[in-house]
Amino acid sequence: MGLDAASLLQVLVWGLVVGSIYVLLATGLTLIFGVMKLVNFAHGELMMWGAFLTILIAQSTGVNPYVAMIGSTAAVGLLGVAIERLGFRPLRGTAKINEIFLSIALILVLQNALARFFVPYFRENAQIRTPYATEYFSLGLVNLRYDFVILLAVAWAITFGLWFVLFHTAPGRDVRATSQNRAAALLMGIDVRRIDMLCFGIGSALAALAGSLYGVVNPFSPYAGTIPAIKAFAVIILGGLGSVPGAVLGGLLYGVVESFGTFFLGGSWRDAIAFVLLIVVLMVRPQGIFREGA
């Protein structure tokens, strides 16, 4: 394997693509964590539901998969709202570990319900086919797939959109207030339960979008979401729980470090590299890069 600039650039591009998917996943998780102080480990299963629904919509109506993503994202967002109302809300105020338990139960439910529909059609793996699958930009040293460019554009447009809503609109201010101090937000007349529902819905929708984009560049199965979701969780810990800038920076860092680490050390190390990075950062900064709730 040559160490020439072209292959290093390819590795970097792949790192940015994977990193952008982590950013979407992690931003959703950190948004939910910020207001509700909980982590939904079934985030990865929502992700795969998103990818599956995108294929379903695209194939049944014949629309471009990138348009179909709008529908799947909205559907999974609503599913997230239902999960919050029926599952996590009754657990408020009990031991924190119960929320982990519930999210594990949700993994079982969502994963196998998906497999029930998925396996008869696709057997093991499916991939979202876009009309641009074989088209490339030539950038001198590297060829850049159209899909990569669209993926990066969509991921970053959504991330900046979310940032704008959070920091420059009234509902965004309510979300930040709830995240900073739930009791005080309640006293100021913010309906914190509605904020919970809203954030869980948006977080789930972001997971679905991340899943659909993942499905464009990777083959996926109903079980493919677990590991990316756990890594996204590691990302928000790395960045600082509840911090949106932390999730963005952490996600990119993860994607790039993982991509280069795998390139130099070999495939067996791919999952371990991410955690070595996490452990090293936490030894130095036990609260993550940004402080909680920033």
Partner: protein, 331 residues
């Protein structure tokens, strides 16, 4: 906790409960001849030991999301000691887990400043790292992804049925042993210290609890007990060990079983493993396919949203004894 309350906790009788479990397990062994039932129950006993080890760490507020590290290291160490050095499995099973005990100590030392999610995620990360270490640098010793065959715990020309009963009784005895260990620990002065650390580390330290020593002690002990469970499992039920043991699933089981049964109660992991596993096996056979797992997931979700304190507290309340006190302890 006041001195009187502490004394009351200490007075809880654990020996009669342990004896009752031994007798009940013995009666089942004498009556049941179905191999499959014995096998499921042996699994329940082994994983109750494993869940108990998680419960011990959880009692000090160290909620590990990567306990498979200790389960797997115990199994590998024991299988290697028996296979390469020719140690009898019955001895290797207790010597091997010194490795996960050491790993527990090292990980606890590294994570001393971490709590809650941060602690959970780092422990999870170690599972992924240990898996790579087992497969890559130590691949020559561990046969990489193919894994190793494990020496049987009970062998020597016995009938399969006899071996199954012996495995069952060994697992039962060790489970009761781990129960007594956990109960004694939780009811002791050290147990109170661990509970104080769980509730509030700063307050515990100010009250004179040595937070550092107790956290390290709990994780070392937990690592050892989990290692014994892993070794027992590979010498009896699976008879094989592979790096797959460092996957996500094996880290989830103890958490699932313990919380379903009752978190930070010595009886919790046992009840939880029994109820969840028996229901699980029933659902798999009665419903089959993906639907059965959906039903199991829904059942678990209903358990936790309806009885967040676990089945043991529910049972205790229903039986009408000790309910309020246990409820208070489990919170």
């Amino acid at each position: 906790m006041s001195r009187a309350a502490a004394a009351r906790v200490r007075r809880r009788r654990t020996l009669p409960v342990a004896l009752a479990m031994l007798v009940a397990g013995g009666v089942v062994a004498a009556l049941v001849r179905e191999q499959f039932v014995l096998q499921v129950l042996t699994y329940v006993f082994i994983f109750a030991i494993y869940a108990q080890s998680w419960n011990i760490a959880a009692h000090s507020g160290q909620f590990s999301l990567g306990h498979a590290t200790f389960l797997g290291l115990g199994a590998y160490a024991s299988v290697l000691l028996a296979g390469r050095l020719g140690l009898p499995a019955a001895v290797a099973m207790f010597v091997g887990p010194l490795l996960p005990a050491l790993a527990g100590l090292a990980i606890a030392r590294l994570c001393l400043r971490l709590r809650e999610w941060y602690f959970g995620m780092v422990t999870f990360g170690f599972t992924a790292i240990v898996q790579v270490l087992v497969v890559e640098p130590f691949g020559g010793l561990t046969n990489r992804w193919d894994g190793l065959d494990a020496a049987p715990l009970w062998a020597g020309g016995r009938a399969i049925e006899t071996i199954a009963i012996l495995n069952y009784l060994t697992a039962l005895a060790l489970m009761v042993g781990s129960y007594l260990l956990a109960a004694r620990l939780m009811n002791s002065k050290s147990g109170l210290a661990l509970a104080a650390i769980h509730d509030n580390e700063v307050v515990a330290a100010v009250s004179g609890v040595n937070v550092r020593t107790h956290r390290l002690m709990a994780m070392t002990l937990s690592g050892y007990v989990a290692g014994v469970a892993g070794a027992l499992n590979s010498h009896t039920l699976t008879r094989h060990i592979s790096p797959g043991i460092f996957g996500i699933e094996d880290s989830i089981w103890p958490l699932l079983y313990t919380i379903a049964g009752g978190l930070r109660i010595p009886e919790g992991p046992i009840l939880g493993t029994l109820v969840v596993r028996v229901f699980w096996e029933w659902a798999l056979r009665a419903l089959g396919g993906f639907e059965s797992l959906v039903v199991i997931g829904l059942a678990l979700a209903v358990i936790v949203t309806t009885f967040p304190q676990g089945l043991y507290v529910l049972a205790a309340r229903a039986a009408g004894w000790a309910g309020p006190r246990l409820a208070r302890r489990a919170r």
